[in-house]
Amino acid sequence: MIKFILNGKEVETVAPATVRLIDLLRDDFQLIGPKEGCGDGECGTCSVLVNQLVQNSCLIPIGAIEGAEIITIDGYCNTEQFQLLSECYSEAGAVQCGYCIPGMIMASEALLSQNPHPTEEEIREGISGNLCRCTGYNMIVDAIDLAAKKGDGLW
Protein backbone atom coordinates (compact mmCIF):
# COMPACT_ATOMS: atom_id res chain seq x y z
CA MET A 1 0.00 0.00 0.00
CA ILE A 2 1.34 3.40 -0.99
CA LYS A 3 0.16 6.49 0.90
CA PHE A 4 0.72 10.06 -0.16
CA ILE A 5 -0.92 13.48 -0.12
CA LEU A 6 -2.81 14.40 -3.25
CA ASN A 7 -4.01 17.97 -3.60
CA GLY A 8 -4.06 18.34 0.15
CA LYS A 9 -5.82 15.08 1.00
CA GLU A 10 -4.25 11.89 2.30
CA VAL A 11 -4.82 9.09 -0.19
CA GLU A 12 -3.67 5.53 -0.63
CA THR A 13 -3.47 2.98 -3.41
CA VAL A 14 -2.77 -0.70 -3.80
CA ALA A 15 -1.58 -0.32 -7.41
CA PRO A 16 1.84 -1.90 -8.13
CA ALA A 17 4.83 0.31 -7.31
CA THR A 18 6.11 0.64 -10.88
CA VAL A 19 2.84 2.00 -12.29
CA ARG A 20 3.42 5.55 -13.52
CA LEU A 21 2.03 8.43 -11.48
CA ILE A 22 0.30 9.85 -14.58
CA ASP A 23 -1.76 6.66 -14.96
CA LEU A 24 -2.65 6.52 -11.29
CA LEU A 25 -3.80 10.16 -11.36
CA ARG A 26 -5.84 9.91 -14.53
CA ASP A 27 -7.26 6.40 -14.32
CA ASP A 28 -7.62 5.74 -10.58
CA PHE A 29 -8.14 9.23 -9.19
CA GLN A 30 -9.90 10.65 -12.26
CA LEU A 31 -7.67 13.71 -12.23
CA ILE A 32 -7.43 14.34 -15.93
CA GLY A 33 -5.71 17.72 -15.72
CA PRO A 34 -2.23 16.30 -16.32
CA LYS A 35 -2.04 15.03 -19.92
CA GLU A 36 0.16 12.40 -21.48
CA GLY A 37 1.89 13.89 -24.50
CA CYS A 38 5.05 11.86 -25.07
CA GLY A 39 5.32 9.52 -22.10
CA ASP A 40 9.09 9.97 -22.32
CA GLY A 41 9.80 13.01 -20.17
CA GLU A 42 10.20 15.32 -23.13
CA CYS A 43 7.03 17.41 -23.43
CA GLY A 44 6.09 18.40 -19.87
CA THR A 45 2.31 18.33 -20.28
CA CYS A 46 2.14 15.70 -17.50
CA SER A 47 3.93 18.04 -15.04
CA VAL A 48 2.89 18.00 -11.39
CA LEU A 49 4.46 19.34 -8.22
CA VAL A 50 6.16 16.80 -5.98
CA ASN A 51 7.05 18.39 -2.65
CA GLN A 52 6.82 21.75 -4.46
CA LEU A 53 9.21 20.76 -7.24
CA VAL A 54 7.97 20.40 -10.80
CA GLN A 55 8.40 16.85 -12.13
CA ASN A 56 7.10 14.76 -15.03
CA SER A 57 4.42 12.37 -13.75
CA CYS A 58 5.04 10.05 -16.72
CA LEU A 59 8.51 9.24 -15.32
CA ILE A 60 7.54 8.70 -11.69
CA PRO A 61 6.98 5.16 -10.43
CA ILE A 62 4.38 5.52 -7.71
CA GLY A 63 6.51 3.54 -5.25
CA ALA A 64 8.84 6.52 -5.15
CA ILE A 65 6.23 8.99 -3.88
CA GLU A 66 5.37 7.33 -0.56
CA GLY A 67 4.66 10.19 1.87
CA ALA A 68 5.15 12.89 -0.75
CA GLU A 69 2.89 15.85 -1.38
CA ILE A 70 1.58 15.88 -4.95
CA ILE A 71 -0.24 18.84 -6.44
CA THR A 72 -1.84 18.62 -9.85
CA ILE A 73 -3.49 21.37 -11.87
CA ASP A 74 -6.82 20.02 -10.62
CA GLY A 75 -5.91 21.01 -7.06
CA TYR A 76 -3.83 24.04 -7.92
CA CYS A 77 -6.72 25.69 -9.76
CA ASN A 78 -8.32 26.55 -6.40
CA THR A 79 -5.52 28.91 -5.46
CA GLU A 80 -5.12 32.66 -5.76
CA GLN A 81 -1.88 32.14 -7.67
CA PHE A 82 -3.73 30.07 -10.26
CA GLN A 83 -6.40 32.75 -10.64
CA LEU A 84 -3.76 35.31 -11.47
CA LEU A 85 -1.84 33.03 -13.83
CA SER A 86 -5.09 32.15 -15.57
CA GLU A 87 -5.97 35.84 -16.06
CA CYS A 88 -2.49 36.65 -17.32
CA TYR A 89 -2.41 33.68 -19.70
CA SER A 90 -5.70 34.88 -21.25
CA GLU A 91 -4.64 38.51 -21.30
CA ALA A 92 -1.41 37.63 -23.11
CA GLY A 93 -3.23 35.32 -25.55
CA ALA A 94 -1.05 32.44 -24.33
CA VAL A 95 -3.56 29.62 -24.80
CA GLN A 96 -4.56 28.14 -28.13
CA CYS A 97 -5.45 24.42 -28.18
CA GLY A 98 -4.64 24.20 -24.48
CA TYR A 99 -3.01 20.78 -24.43
CA CYS A 100 0.29 22.04 -23.00
CA ILE A 101 -1.32 24.43 -20.54
CA PRO A 102 -1.77 22.20 -17.44
CA GLY A 103 1.97 21.55 -17.59
CA MET A 104 2.87 25.15 -18.44
CA ILE A 105 0.92 26.40 -15.44
CA MET A 106 2.62 23.96 -13.07
CA ALA A 107 6.01 24.96 -14.47
CA SER A 108 5.05 28.64 -14.08
CA GLU A 109 4.11 28.08 -10.44
CA ALA A 110 7.34 26.17 -9.75
CA LEU A 111 9.36 28.98 -11.31
CA LEU A 112 7.58 31.85 -9.56
CA SER A 113 7.61 30.17 -6.17
CA GLN A 114 11.42 29.89 -6.39
CA ASN A 115 12.01 33.14 -8.21
CA PRO A 116 9.15 35.67 -7.94
CA HIS A 117 10.79 38.14 -10.35
CA PRO A 118 12.39 36.12 -13.12
CA THR A 119 14.17 37.64 -16.12
CA GLU A 120 12.98 36.67 -19.60
CA GLU A 121 15.90 34.26 -19.83
CA GLU A 122 14.91 32.65 -16.51
CA ILE A 123 11.30 32.32 -17.66
CA ARG A 124 12.41 30.56 -20.84
CA GLU A 125 14.64 28.28 -18.76
CA GLY A 126 11.74 27.61 -16.35
CA ILE A 127 9.45 26.35 -19.11
CA SER A 128 12.22 24.76 -21.20
CA GLY A 129 10.88 21.27 -20.43
CA ASN A 130 7.40 22.12 -21.74
CA LEU A 131 6.59 21.91 -25.41
CA CYS A 132 3.84 23.99 -27.00
CA ARG A 133 2.96 23.31 -30.62
CA CYS A 134 0.64 26.30 -31.01
CA THR A 135 1.76 29.56 -29.49
CA GLY A 136 5.42 29.82 -30.38
CA TYR A 137 6.11 30.43 -26.66
CA ASN A 138 6.42 34.21 -26.75
CA MET A 139 2.90 34.78 -25.47
CA ILE A 140 3.48 32.25 -22.68
CA VAL A 141 6.66 34.06 -21.67
CA ASP A 142 4.69 37.33 -21.69
CA ALA A 143 1.95 35.76 -19.54
CA ILE A 144 4.42 34.64 -16.88
CA ASP A 145 6.16 38.00 -16.94
CA LEU A 146 2.80 39.72 -16.50
CA ALA A 147 1.89 37.42 -13.59
CA ALA A 148 5.22 38.15 -11.90
CA LYS A 149 4.56 41.89 -12.18
CA LYS A 150 0.89 41.87 -11.18
CA GLY A 151 1.45 39.24 -8.49
CA ASP A 152 4.02 41.23 -6.58
CA GLY A 153 4.02 39.66 -3.11
CA LEU A 154 1.82 36.71 -4.05
CA TRP A 155 4.80 34.37 -4.54
Binding site: T18, V19, V54, P61, A64
Partner: protein, 286 residues
Protein backbone atom coordinates in the same frame (compact mmCIF):
# COMPACT_ATOMS: atom_id res chain seq x y z
CA UNK B 1 -4.18 -7.96 -19.31
CA UNK B 2 -3.06 -9.60 -16.09
CA UNK B 3 0.50 -8.80 -15.10
CA UNK B 4 2.12 -10.69 -12.31
CA UNK B 5 3.08 -8.09 -9.75
CA UNK B 6 6.74 -8.05 -8.82
CA UNK B 7 7.85 -7.28 -5.29
CA UNK B 8 8.94 -3.77 -4.46
CA UNK B 9 10.89 -2.40 -1.52
CA UNK B 10 11.43 1.02 -0.08
CA UNK B 11 13.54 0.54 3.02
CA UNK B 12 13.96 3.08 5.81
CA UNK B 13 17.73 2.95 5.85
CA UNK B 14 20.75 2.18 3.69
CA UNK B 15 21.65 -0.83 5.86
CA UNK B 16 18.21 -2.39 5.39
CA UNK B 17 18.49 -1.73 1.65
CA UNK B 18 21.89 -3.45 1.49
CA UNK B 19 20.54 -6.38 3.45
CA UNK B 20 17.70 -6.73 0.92
CA UNK B 21 20.24 -6.66 -1.95
CA UNK B 22 22.21 -9.45 -0.27
CA UNK B 23 19.10 -11.67 -0.28
CA UNK B 24 18.05 -11.44 -3.93
CA UNK B 25 18.97 -9.85 -7.25
CA UNK B 26 17.01 -6.60 -7.44
CA UNK B 27 16.57 -3.67 -9.79
CA UNK B 28 17.60 -0.40 -8.14
CA UNK B 29 15.51 2.65 -9.01
CA UNK B 30 16.84 6.11 -8.15
CA UNK B 31 15.10 9.00 -9.97
CA UNK B 32 13.81 6.60 -12.62
CA UNK B 33 14.33 9.11 -15.44
CA UNK B 34 16.31 6.60 -17.50
CA UNK B 35 14.58 3.44 -16.30
CA UNK B 36 10.97 4.56 -16.68
CA UNK B 37 11.61 5.34 -20.34
CA UNK B 38 13.54 2.11 -20.95
CA UNK B 39 10.91 -0.03 -19.18
CA UNK B 40 7.76 1.77 -20.33
CA UNK B 41 4.61 -0.37 -20.53
CA UNK B 42 1.27 0.32 -22.14
CA UNK B 43 -0.73 2.87 -20.16
CA UNK B 44 -1.79 1.73 -16.71
CA UNK B 45 0.39 -1.38 -16.57
CA UNK B 46 3.39 -1.68 -14.26
CA UNK B 47 6.79 -1.01 -15.83
CA UNK B 48 8.51 -3.90 -17.59
CA UNK B 49 10.71 -4.95 -14.68
CA UNK B 50 11.70 -8.57 -14.42
CA UNK B 51 13.06 -8.60 -10.89
CA UNK B 52 12.06 -7.08 -7.57
CA UNK B 53 12.56 -3.33 -7.51
CA UNK B 54 14.20 -1.37 -4.73
CA UNK B 55 13.61 2.38 -4.46
CA UNK B 56 16.61 4.29 -3.16
CA UNK B 57 16.15 7.97 -3.96
CA UNK B 58 14.67 8.81 -0.53
CA UNK B 59 17.64 7.43 1.44
CA UNK B 60 19.23 10.28 3.40
CA UNK B 61 22.55 8.44 3.55
CA UNK B 62 22.78 8.82 -0.23
CA UNK B 63 21.99 12.52 -0.34
CA UNK B 64 24.90 14.10 1.54
CA UNK B 65 27.45 16.44 0.01
CA UNK B 66 30.53 17.11 2.16
CA UNK B 67 34.24 17.70 2.06
CA UNK B 68 37.03 15.72 3.69
CA UNK B 69 40.31 17.61 3.34
CA UNK B 70 40.41 18.42 -0.39
CA UNK B 71 38.08 15.60 -1.43
CA UNK B 72 34.46 16.38 -2.29
CA UNK B 73 31.98 13.58 -1.57
CA UNK B 74 28.67 13.59 -3.44
CA UNK B 75 25.88 11.20 -2.41
CA UNK B 76 24.79 9.01 -5.32
CA UNK B 77 21.13 10.03 -5.00
CA UNK B 78 21.71 13.78 -5.12
CA UNK B 79 19.58 15.24 -7.89
CA UNK B 80 20.94 17.75 -10.38
CA UNK B 81 18.87 20.50 -8.73
CA UNK B 82 20.31 19.68 -5.32
CA UNK B 83 23.88 19.72 -6.64
CA UNK B 84 23.38 22.95 -8.58
CA UNK B 85 22.43 24.67 -5.34
CA UNK B 86 25.30 23.34 -3.24
CA UNK B 87 28.37 25.48 -2.53
CA UNK B 88 30.81 22.53 -2.59
CA UNK B 89 29.99 21.49 -6.16
CA UNK B 90 32.59 22.93 -8.58
CA UNK B 91 31.15 25.59 -10.90
CA UNK B 92 32.13 23.76 -14.06
CA UNK B 93 30.03 20.74 -12.99
CA UNK B 94 27.12 23.05 -12.23
CA UNK B 95 27.45 24.51 -15.69
CA UNK B 96 27.30 21.04 -17.24
CA UNK B 97 24.25 20.16 -15.14
CA UNK B 98 22.46 23.28 -16.26
CA UNK B 99 22.71 21.86 -19.77
CA UNK B 100 21.07 18.60 -18.75
CA UNK B 101 17.43 18.17 -19.78
CA UNK B 102 15.09 20.71 -18.13
CA UNK B 103 14.03 21.62 -14.56
CA UNK B 104 11.53 18.77 -14.15
CA UNK B 105 14.13 16.11 -15.02
CA UNK B 106 16.81 17.87 -12.97
CA UNK B 107 14.49 17.62 -9.96
CA UNK B 108 14.49 13.80 -10.27
CA UNK B 109 17.57 12.61 -12.16
CA UNK B 110 20.55 11.69 -9.97
CA UNK B 111 24.30 11.63 -10.45
CA UNK B 112 24.43 7.95 -9.45
CA UNK B 113 21.83 7.20 -12.14
CA UNK B 114 23.80 9.11 -14.78
CA UNK B 115 26.94 7.10 -13.95
CA UNK B 116 25.24 3.70 -13.65
CA UNK B 117 23.21 4.18 -16.82
CA UNK B 118 26.68 4.63 -18.34
CA UNK B 119 25.55 6.22 -21.59
CA UNK B 120 28.50 7.62 -23.56
CA UNK B 121 26.29 10.72 -23.90
CA UNK B 122 25.88 11.10 -20.11
CA UNK B 123 26.62 14.75 -19.48
CA UNK B 124 28.28 14.53 -16.08
CA UNK B 125 30.73 11.90 -17.30
CA UNK B 126 33.38 13.85 -19.27
CA UNK B 127 33.95 16.15 -16.29
CA UNK B 128 33.86 13.28 -13.79
CA UNK B 129 36.61 11.58 -15.85
CA UNK B 130 38.62 14.80 -15.74
CA UNK B 131 38.21 15.06 -11.97
CA UNK B 132 39.46 11.43 -11.75
CA UNK B 133 36.27 10.67 -9.84
CA UNK B 134 36.12 7.62 -7.63
CA UNK B 135 32.97 5.55 -7.29
CA UNK B 136 32.31 4.30 -3.79
CA UNK B 137 30.30 1.08 -3.54
CA UNK B 138 28.82 -0.67 -0.55
CA UNK B 139 27.28 -4.05 0.08
CA UNK B 140 26.24 -5.82 3.27
CA UNK B 141 29.72 -7.37 3.23
CA UNK B 142 31.80 -4.22 2.96
CA UNK B 143 32.95 -1.32 0.91
CA UNK B 144 35.26 -0.54 -2.01
CA UNK B 145 36.13 2.31 -4.35
CA UNK B 146 36.73 2.16 -8.10
CA UNK B 147 38.12 4.67 -10.58
CA UNK B 148 35.31 5.92 -12.83
CA UNK B 149 37.21 4.84 -15.95
CA UNK B 150 37.34 1.25 -14.66
CA UNK B 151 33.82 1.28 -13.23
CA UNK B 152 32.16 2.28 -16.53
CA UNK B 153 32.65 -0.51 -19.07
CA UNK B 154 30.24 0.37 -21.89
CA UNK B 155 26.70 1.57 -22.51
CA UNK B 156 24.58 0.45 -19.50
CA UNK B 157 27.48 -1.70 -18.33
CA UNK B 158 29.23 -1.00 -15.06
CA UNK B 159 31.47 -3.02 -12.76
CA UNK B 160 28.90 -3.48 -10.01
CA UNK B 161 28.12 -6.72 -8.20
CA UNK B 162 24.47 -7.58 -7.69
CA UNK B 163 24.56 -6.89 -3.97
CA UNK B 164 26.38 -3.58 -4.34
CA UNK B 165 25.04 -0.06 -4.43
CA UNK B 166 26.88 3.11 -5.41
CA UNK B 167 26.87 5.28 -2.30
CA UNK B 168 29.08 8.20 -3.26
CA UNK B 169 31.07 9.85 -5.96
CA UNK B 170 34.34 11.28 -4.70
CA UNK B 171 36.16 14.10 -6.48
CA UNK B 172 39.68 13.71 -5.09
CA UNK B 173 41.96 16.63 -4.30
CA UNK B 174 39.89 19.43 -5.75
CA UNK B 175 42.09 22.55 -5.50
CA UNK B 176 40.63 25.77 -4.07
CA UNK B 177 41.55 27.60 -7.24
CA UNK B 178 40.13 25.72 -10.19
CA UNK B 179 42.21 25.39 -13.37
CA UNK B 180 41.05 26.69 -16.74
CA UNK B 181 38.02 24.54 -17.52
CA UNK B 182 35.61 24.09 -20.39
CA UNK B 183 32.62 21.86 -20.92
CA UNK B 184 30.87 21.92 -24.29
CA UNK B 185 27.74 20.00 -25.20
CA UNK B 186 26.48 19.85 -28.76
CA UNK B 187 22.86 18.77 -29.21
CA UNK B 188 19.82 19.54 -31.34
CA UNK B 189 18.37 22.16 -29.04
CA UNK B 190 19.10 23.68 -25.67
CA UNK B 191 16.66 21.80 -23.46
CA UNK B 192 15.74 18.11 -23.25
CA UNK B 193 18.21 17.06 -25.91
CA UNK B 194 20.65 14.17 -25.72
CA UNK B 195 24.28 14.97 -26.51
CA UNK B 196 25.64 14.30 -30.01
CA UNK B 197 29.14 15.09 -28.90
CA UNK B 198 30.60 16.61 -25.77
CA UNK B 199 34.03 17.78 -24.73
CA UNK B 200 35.59 18.65 -21.39
CA UNK B 201 39.05 20.05 -20.90
CA UNK B 202 41.09 21.45 -18.06
CA UNK B 203 44.52 23.00 -18.15
CA UNK B 204 46.79 24.58 -15.55
CA UNK B 205 49.86 26.65 -16.34
CA UNK B 206 52.39 28.54 -14.30
CA UNK B 207 55.13 30.91 -15.41
CA UNK B 208 54.45 30.23 -19.06
CA UNK B 209 54.54 26.40 -18.82
CA UNK B 210 51.71 23.86 -18.84
CA UNK B 211 51.63 21.99 -15.52
CA UNK B 212 48.63 19.76 -16.12
CA UNK B 213 46.22 19.07 -19.00
CA UNK B 214 43.19 16.79 -19.16
CA UNK B 215 40.93 16.15 -22.15
CA UNK B 216 37.74 14.05 -22.32
CA UNK B 217 35.30 13.38 -25.17
CA UNK B 218 31.71 12.14 -24.80
CA UNK B 219 29.56 10.25 -27.34
CA UNK B 220 32.48 9.40 -29.62
CA UNK B 221 32.78 5.76 -28.52
CA UNK B 222 31.24 3.21 -26.12
CA UNK B 223 32.73 5.04 -23.13
CA UNK B 224 34.16 8.51 -22.50
CA UNK B 225 37.56 8.87 -24.23
CA UNK B 226 40.56 10.19 -22.29
CA UNK B 227 44.16 9.55 -23.33
CA UNK B 228 46.79 9.98 -20.62
CA UNK B 229 49.70 9.59 -23.05
CA UNK B 230 48.48 12.44 -25.27
CA UNK B 231 47.74 14.65 -22.26
CA UNK B 232 51.28 14.04 -21.03
CA UNK B 233 52.69 15.52 -24.24
CA UNK B 234 51.20 18.88 -23.25
CA UNK B 235 52.88 19.01 -19.86
CA UNK B 236 55.95 21.25 -19.89
CA UNK B 237 55.00 22.96 -23.17
CA UNK B 238 55.20 26.74 -23.38
CA UNK B 239 51.88 28.51 -22.76
CA UNK B 240 50.12 29.80 -24.89
CA UNK B 241 50.54 26.69 -27.01
CA UNK B 242 52.02 27.25 -30.46
CA UNK B 243 50.32 26.05 -33.64
CA UNK B 244 52.72 23.18 -34.15
CA UNK B 245 51.96 21.65 -30.75
CA UNK B 246 48.21 22.18 -31.24
CA UNK B 247 48.30 20.56 -34.69
CA UNK B 248 50.18 17.61 -33.22
CA UNK B 249 47.67 17.02 -30.43
CA UNK B 250 44.70 17.39 -32.79
CA UNK B 251 46.32 14.89 -35.18
CA UNK B 252 46.75 12.37 -32.34
CA UNK B 253 43.05 12.55 -31.51
CA UNK B 254 42.17 12.44 -35.17
CA UNK B 255 43.54 8.91 -35.34
CA UNK B 256 42.25 7.93 -31.90
CA UNK B 257 38.57 8.98 -32.13
CA UNK B 258 36.31 6.64 -34.04
CA UNK B 259 32.74 7.87 -33.53
CA UNK B 260 29.86 6.00 -35.15
CA UNK B 261 26.77 7.00 -37.13
CA UNK B 262 23.48 6.71 -35.26
CA UNK B 263 20.03 8.32 -35.21
CA UNK B 264 21.40 11.43 -33.51
CA UNK B 265 24.38 12.20 -35.71
CA UNK B 266 27.03 10.87 -38.07
CA UNK B 267 30.54 9.76 -37.29
CA UNK B 268 31.99 12.38 -39.64
CA UNK B 269 30.08 15.22 -37.97
CA UNK B 270 31.01 14.02 -34.50
CA UNK B 271 34.68 13.77 -35.33
CA UNK B 272 34.85 17.17 -37.03
CA UNK B 273 33.10 18.89 -34.12
CA UNK B 274 35.16 17.02 -31.50
CA UNK B 275 38.42 18.11 -33.10
CA UNK B 276 37.21 21.70 -33.52
CA UNK B 277 36.23 21.88 -29.86
CA UNK B 278 39.63 20.48 -28.90
CA UNK B 279 41.48 22.97 -31.08
CA UNK B 280 39.45 25.87 -29.74
CA UNK B 281 40.25 24.78 -26.18
CA UNK B 282 43.99 24.44 -26.87
CA UNK B 283 44.10 27.89 -28.47
CA UNK B 284 43.31 29.62 -25.14
CA UNK B 285 45.64 32.58 -24.60
CA UNK B 286 44.98 33.68 -21.01
Amino acid sequence: MVTKAIASYRMKSLDETLSQLSKEDCQLIAGGTDLMVQRKSPRGAPGRFDKPVVFIDHLKELKQIYRVNQDIHIGACCTYSEMMEHHLIPNILKKAMKEIAAPAIRNRGTIGGNICNASPAGDTLPLLYIFNAKIRLRSAKGERAAEIRDFIQGPRKVDRLKDELVTEIILPEVPEVQPYFVFEKVANRRADAITKISFAGSMRWDEGRIQDARLAFGAVGPTIVRAADIEQKLVGQAFPLNDKVIDGIVAEFESLLKPIDDHRSTGVYRKTVALNLLRHFLEVRA
